[in-house]
């Protein structure tokens, strides 16, 4: 890696990033067009139909009143969990390899959170009344129910969204400034506003450093709490298979797991199509690979634990639950999940695998498919095996649901495509920090060393 970067100068990264913002090929526009088209046809059209027809457009039924919409919600929330969290952790531990990738990772957080919020709208029976779940003063003095796990969600996710958007913005103020001077027209004005008049004086750097660190410290516990709370939507119930103490850590691990896999995917794309080969390197994939390996092992551990406790409890409810999960209607999905998230990642043990790009991409996508399945199964298998056997029903997603899943991905892609044209998707100043500082020739050595 050193070999690659040795000849890199400050100006190079500068130019590369600015180019990534201002120079736009036809490929980009085509991709964006497709993404938007899919977004409209596969997300908004079915959703509007559902608004008109009612949730019945989805395949849900009486015991299984939750379905893929909520699964998607959890999935996207989960995906959001690596970006900012990872970035914060690495920032505090002050690790170098973070710097090239954290910006886009955080963007991923931001956008998956937005998609998640959208999934809530899709999930609701009467979304036009969603404002009732937000605390605002009114003449009736009627407020939301703060005892409800769902309201914890509302609070947590709002906070998380605010936090991570602020975090990514703060981190890129100096870059906005850097880009500001190199752009003209509306871009110049935009970056002038965004950079708030950043100059790069020692005071400004000092303040930014402090603020940034504080944010990081605040956001780490927040991120953990967010997914714990999401897990409590389930764990706070007394439904067999959902009412489990392990759920909070289980969800957090799962979230970081899928999030990290997501980062790998995004890194690959950036590297390949935004020409950041020099900045996003084998090193990053290697480290992410290791991380993935650890997480997958954790994840498998918790899964086995869940089965074990279920089996050990021996109650009819838990036991039927277990049987159904392993051999019931949804069993194929279950084993697919195990394969993708539990077995396949073991490949990461080999260095060669970790440092080769395409296989990593494939694996990361596989992992996220597996994780989506997991979220789906958590809902489908448990709710269709409630306490009273007479109410047992099988739930099969409808076309509308499937197409909305596809559409939500398109939404994410669209947002990300817009992002890379507005935000410097690689942090300029932090990459500069990792570079060797230029030397003035003929300068005495002692000055250079510090």
């Amino acid at each position: 890696m050193q070999t690659e970067e040795q000849q890199l100068q400050f100006t190079d990264i500068h130019n590369d990033v600015v180019r990534s913002l201002v120079v736009t090929g036809r490929g980009y526009y085509i991709t964006l067009g497709c993404a938007i088209f899919v977004l409209l046809t596969c997300f908004f059209f079915p959703w509007f139909y559902q608004l008109y027809y009612g949730i019945g457009a989805a395949g849900m039924n009486s015991p299984t009143v939750w379905g893929t919409y909520l699964a998607s919600f959890i999935f996207w929330i989960g995906l959001s969990h690596s970006g900012t969290l990872l970035s914060c952790v690495l920032h505090i531990t002050n690790s170098q390899w973070r710097k090239a990738m954290y910006r886009s990772a955080e963007a991923m957080t931001l956008f998956s959170l937005m998609v998640a919020a959208m999934m809530v709208m899709v999930h609701l029976g009467r979304p036009w009344f969603i404002h009732w779940s937000v605390p605002y003063p009114n003449q009736m003095e009627l407020w939301p129910n703060f005892r409800s796990p769902l309201l914890f969600d509302v609070m947590a996710i709002t906070t998380y969204l605010t936090g991570s958007s602020i975090f990514i913005y703060m981190g890129s103020i100096p870059d906005f400034a850097a880009v500001r001077d190199r752009t003209t027209g509306w871009r110049h004005h935009l970056y002038t506003l965004l950079s708030l008049g950043w100059r790069g004086t020692d005071t400004e750097w000092h303040r930014l450093g402090w603020a940034y660190t504080f944010l990081a410290v605040l956001i780490i516990p927040l991120a953990v709490s967010v997914h714990s709370i999401v897990s409590w939507d389930f764990a706070m119930s007394i439904v067999p298979g959902l009412h489990q103490t392990i759920f909070a850590p289980y969800f957090v691990v799962g979230a970081i797991y899928s999030g990290t896999a997501g980062i790998v995917t995004v890194m690959f794309v950036l590297r390949k199509y935004m020409n950041f080969e020099q900045y996003i390197t084998k090193l990053h994939f290697d480290n992410l690979g290791k991380l993935l390996l650890v997480l997958s092992l954790l994840w498998s551990y918790i899964n086995i634990l869940e089965l074990f406790t279920g089996w050990y409890s021996g109650t009819s409810t838990e036991y039927e639950q277990l049987k159904y999960k392993l051999f019931g209607y949804y069993a194929p999905l279950y084993w697919e999940m195990i394969l993708f998230c539990g077995v396949a990642p073991l490949l990461l043990i080999s260095n060669k695998f970790r440092t080769s790009f395409v296989p990593m991409l494939v694996l990361s996508i596989a992992i996220n498919i597996g994780m989506y399945t997991e979220r789906f199964l958590i809902i489908a298998t448990t709710l269709s095996r409630q306490y009273l056997p007479e109410s047992w029903r099988v739930y099969v997603p409808s076309l509308v649901e499937l197409s909305i899943i596809v559409g939500s991905v398109a939404m994410f892609v669209t947002l990300f495509l817009l992002f890379v044209k507005i935000f410097p998707s690689v942090s300029i100043y932090e990459v500069k920090e990792t570079m060797k500082i230029p030397k003035k020739k003929g300068m005495p050595e002692w000055q250079a060393t510090h």
């Binding site: 609070m155 906070t159 605010t162 936090g163 790069g200 504080f214 500069k432 300068m443």
Partner: protein, 171 residues
């Protein structure tokens, strides 16, 4: 008219060195402008104190209070007994409190940052575009020919690539 002497350097260390000498020569607060944060500035120009931590702290406190008040207050405002739980239900309200703490902590931090770093910039300030890319600049305000010449001398001696005089806004 307040004019500044500006020296551009290729590397942070010489810039620091220049700043130190300027300070030593009795110039008021030389300022470094750089594309990346420079370490060790405080050893040279003396430690900086920032108010941000206070903002964060009190923001958090305020968040905690308002969080619990929101939950508990609204609960007793319109009594809705649910699930046989007491009206003021501590554990869930603590979660609300927790989230609100962090939310306000974050917002306060941002506020602190903006205030302490004097953002957004309304009036023009001394600014060096090169320093946004790959140069390290040292500015020191010095009115009067002879003070400028002294500053220039120090900067050049410290290995400044170029030295010129600028005033706010121009570059």
């Amino acid at each position: 008219m307040a004019s500044n002497a500006l020296g551009l350097f290729l590397d942070p260390d010489s810039a620091l060195e220049a700043a130190r000498r300027l300070k030593g020569a009795g110039f008021a607060r030389p300022e470094l402008i750089s594309p990346i944060p420079i370490h060790g500035v405080e050893d040279v120009l003396g430690p900086k104190k920032s108010v941000i931590r206070r903002f964060t702290f009190f923001g958090g406190i305020f968040g905690a209070l308002s969080g619990f008040t929101l939950a508990a207050g609204t609960a007793v405002l319109y009594l809705h007994p649910t699930g046989g739980r007491p009206i003021i239900t501590i554990p869930p309200f603590l979660i609300i409190t927790y989230e609100m703490t962090i939310l306000f902590g974050i917002l306060a931090t941002v506020l602190g940052f903006l205030i302490s770093a004097r953002f957004p910039a309304i009036r023009e300030r001394v600014y060096v575009p090169e320093a946004g890319v790959d140069r390290f600049a040292v500015t020191v305000d010095c009115d009067g020919e002879e003070r400028f010449r002294r500053a220039e001398a120090i900067l050049r001696e410290a290995g400044a690539e170029t030295v010129r005089s600028i005033s706010e806004g121009e570059s």
